[in-house]
């Protein structure tokens, strides 16, 4: 594994296992995510990518069937030991595979996180909404109809709205779970450009089905298969054929199965 001890670790995962009832989703996961990197996770369906993200922001607290074991440290603190897991989630932005525009106005969607933090001043909220929508490349399209329903935007716009909403949390860590599934290629490229800029300010975990997307964006990439981490490395090296495991090579070259 490539490690750079000098860099700050946002996530330290040691021997992490996740199970839903009798079904194991992840076993023996061991990896680090560093500050200000885009960390790509690739792998076929059922490889445990989404479960891993859900463990990071403690969604197991809402799902009694989901059991997490092992060590998962976020900003040097064990996530399970955060006394207030809501505060933990406020530091972690999540973008889901299918866009979720909450059934409230565009403005309220983006102001939601700020309001949760206790911001009440109209001016502060206005600024936050404009800033986040601008960064998510959506401001120009919606600035004249901030009062209309977020759930009535087109799929691509809703996904950018979701990203704006995640940014409004001012997150330390942004997790994107196959964000481009319901988005057209042009919008996807625009969002990818946004992500490259955001990397300066936050750490990004990018789960993707598109191998090329990981190649374009990720600094390092991990390959998950059937709940196990097969290989992790500098994206450049992996895509140059410097893989340690034949399965990674097969997957990257589309010769899988």
């Amino acid at each position: 594994m490539v490690t750079e001890p000098s860099r700050t670790k946002v996530l330290e995962v040691r021997d992490l296992s996740i199970a839903y009832g009798a079904k194991t989703a992840i076993s023996g996961l061991h990896l680090d995510v560093f500050e200000n990197e885009i960390f790509g996770i690739i792998g076929p369906a059922n490889s445990g990518k989404t479960s891993f993200l859900r463990a990071i922001n403690r969604m197991d607290a809402f799902d009694s069937a989901m059991k997490v074991r092992g060590s998962l440290r976020f900003m040097s603190t064990e996530v399970a030991s955060w006394r207030n897991d809501y505060a933990l989630r406020r530091q972690i932005g999540v973008v889901f595979p299918l866009p979720v525009g909450l059934p409230m106005s565009i403005y309220d969607n983006v102001a939601f996180a700020a309001r949760l933090r206790g911001v009440r001043k109209k001016q502060q909220l206005d600024e936050a909404v404009e800033r986040c929508l601008t960064r998510a490349a959506l401001w120009d399209e919606v600035k004249d109809r901030l009062d209309s329903l977020g759930s009535q935007l087109s799929g691509g716009q809703q996904q950018r709205l979701t990203i704006a909403r995640a940014l409004s949390q001012e997150p330390t860590l942004l997790m994107l779970d196959e964000f481009s599934i319901a988005v057209d290629p042009v919008t996807t490229m625009r969002i990818e450009d946004v992500l490259k800029e955001l990397k300066q300010e936050m750490t990004i975990i990018l789960v993707t089905n598109l191998v090329q997307q990981a190649e374009r964006l990720a600094d390092r990439t991990a390959f998950f298969l059937n709940g196990e981490l097969v290989e992790i490395g500098e994206t450049e090296h992996l895509f140059n054929g410097q893989t340690k495991d034949q399965r990674t090579t097969d997957y990257l070259e589309g010769r899988f199965g």
């Binding site: 933990l88 989630r89 530091q91 979720v100 909450l102 059934p103 996180a113 329903l149």
Partner: protein, 292 residues
């Protein structure tokens, strides 16, 4: 070479079967509407001539064979209002707990089963429970309060089931999106779930009003009187009620003009229909405002 389309025998028989099933299902549905139409039209034809300002706002006279239904009308409204004060908050709160908080374990399943069973208990049994619990044990006496509480317990499942179903109709993705932003369960419920479940909660409210206004057995031992020459002054007084009054003038009092019971029934149904109409208006207004 384009193959010409020709319907096979199987195609044709499928098509005919489709038509048959459609007709059968439609006629079943029509049979459902028919009794409602018949009841309503008989009530309107025979009861409408009774309806007048005096009928609605005067006391019964001459052994309830003349005069109006004012105390019964007012009594039913009182019972419904007091009932709503108890049934709505408890029912909605229970539904929120069961839908949003309760873990899926044996206790929750037992509670759900109990709610279904509560709805299945005969109303006369609820009436006797009301006498024992509210009239005697809590010493409310035969009163509006005792009657309303008895009906509230009986009709709680309506509110709970209607509310719970409307809460569960709100897509789970909304909850996950809120939670992942650091919202607590309650913040999620209050800002996203409840506003989108409001029409289902209104349905529960309407069902509750209709049932409460119409129930006779649970209130006749606990708070509704045969005849009272005065109006109730507090919730601890007895009252007349439309449903019981209808029963009384139909079967218990001699020499009642034939149209009188129809008039009473028409007013009773009128209350329910007006509530329904109001809720439909309110719901379509809400739907115009919000929808995903």
């Amino acid at each position: 070479m384009t193959a010409r389309f020709a319907a096979t025998a199987l195609n044709l028989s499928n098509y005919r079967a489709e038509k048959r099933y459609r007709l059968m299902l439609f006629s079943m549905t029509a049979m459902l509407v028919l009794p409602v139409l018949i009841i309503l039209s008989i009530l309107v034809i025979r009861g409408a001539p009774m309806i007048s300002f005096e009928f609605l706002f005067e006391f019964p006279r001459a052994g309830m064979t003349e005069g109006g239904i004012y105390p019964a009308l007012l009594g039913t409204i009182f019972i419904v209002l007091v009932d709503l004060v108890f049934a709505m908050p408890i029912g909605v709160a229970a539904a929120i707990y069961l839908s949003e908080y309760a873990p899926d374990n044996w206790l929750t399943r037992a509670i759900n089963l109990a709610i279904i069973n509560l709805a299945g208990v005969p109303s006369i049994v609820h009436a006797l429970f009301g006498v024992g619990a509210f009239v005697i044990f809590f010493q409310f006496g035969t009163s509006i309060l005792a009657a309303a509480l008895t009906v509230a317990i009986m009709t709680l499942p309506l509110v709970i089931v209607a509310t719970r179903e409307s809460l569960q109709a709100v897509p789970h993705a909304f909850r996950e999106a809120c939670w992942s932003m650091g919202a607590t369960r309650w913040q999620t419920i209050f800002t996203v779930i409840l506003p989108n479940a409001i029409s289902g909660i209104l349905t529960g409210l309407i069902l509750e009003v209709s049932r409460t206004a119409g129930e006779t057995a649970p209130i006749m031992f606990t708070g509704a009187a045969f005849f009272l020459p005065f109006l109730p002054e507090s919730v601890f007084d007895q009252t007349m009620a439309l449903s019981l009054h209808l029963f009384v003038v139909s079967t218990q009092v001699p020499n009642v003009p034939e149209a009188l019971p129809f008039g009473v029934a028409l007013v009773l149904i009128g209350i329910v229909l007006i509530m329904n109409a109001l809720s439909i208006v309110f719901r379509s207004y809400l739907r115009g405002k919000k929808k995903w």
